[in-house]
């Protein structure tokens, strides 16, 4: 902090204040330098944000690997005849908290997916006439063939449930969350 009357500034032409033009004596606040300070504060804020992002990344890394899920139980879903008649059947797999959908896409073509939308976990609804699964919350859509997102906010496909058909009965045998 400078004493009253003392001019701590060095002007561009390096002459003291009394030798500066009148306009500078009348308005000694240096606006560009003032801007410099404001912009520097903004860069500090950006670097703080950068630190928050790095901390978030480290938190994700430290959260550790996904808990091993499996071995998965072999659970009866429905008979093949039932599935072909109703075309979509809800079931829960691998536990009671995971709603899933088994779909019949044609004779002998069965697929099953987790029913929670990969966006915000709303339940998807089958629209098999259009070949898609629709999420009514944010108008997301997934292909019925492979569970991949085709419209709306979801970016990840629905989890895949592995099916097995034995003696006319459809069984769920595995649950696979997917990234792409």
């Amino acid at each position: 902090m400078s004493a009253p009357g003392e001019d701590p500034r060095v002007y561009p032409d390096r002459r003291p204040l009394p030798e500066q033009p009148h306009w500078r004596q009348d308005f000694p606040t240096d606006v560009p330098e003032d801007d410099h300070v404001a912009r520097r504060e903004f860069v500090k804020f950006l670097v703080l944000t950068s630190g928050a992002f790095a901390a978030g990344q480290c938190w994700l890394a430290l959260a550790g690997p996904a808990p091993a899920r499996g071995p998965f139980p072999r659970t009866r879903v429905a008979t093949a005849a039932e599935l072909e008649e109703r075309r979509a059947i809800e079931f829960r797999y691998p536990d009671e908290h995971e709603p899933c959908l088994a779909l019949c896409l044609g004779p002998g073509r069965y697929v099953a997916y987790g029913q929670k939308c990969s966006h915000l976990a709303c339940a998807v609804v089958p629209h098999l006439d259009r070949g898609e699964l629709h999420c009514p919350c944010h108008n997301g859509s997934f292909e019925a063939d492979n569970g991949r997102p085709v419209a709306g906010p979801p970016r990840r496909p629905l989890p895949l449930v592995h099916l097995e058909v034995t003696d006319g009965v459809v069984y769920a045998t595995g649950f696979e969350p997917r990234t792409i």
């Binding site: 520097r40 950006l46 670097v47 990344q57 990969s118």
Partner: protein, 76 residues
Amino acid sequence: MRPILTRRQKDTIFVGIFCVVALLVVLQLWLLTATMNAYLGGDRSVAWPAAAASAGCLAVNLWLLRRLVYLQGARD
């Protein structure tokens, strides 16, 4: 000894530093989004490489901020 720079030169350097910092922050945002997407999809193999990359960006940003403070202390 601090460099003698004109205000215009300082301004140009400042804008350059600002652009790099902003670009790195956007890159970090993208990294976090992509990692979170992979994490929620059950793929956690990218978490450590992404964390290392993000920490690298932070280190560069801190260094640039230090240079910026130094620059602003330099004589006109």
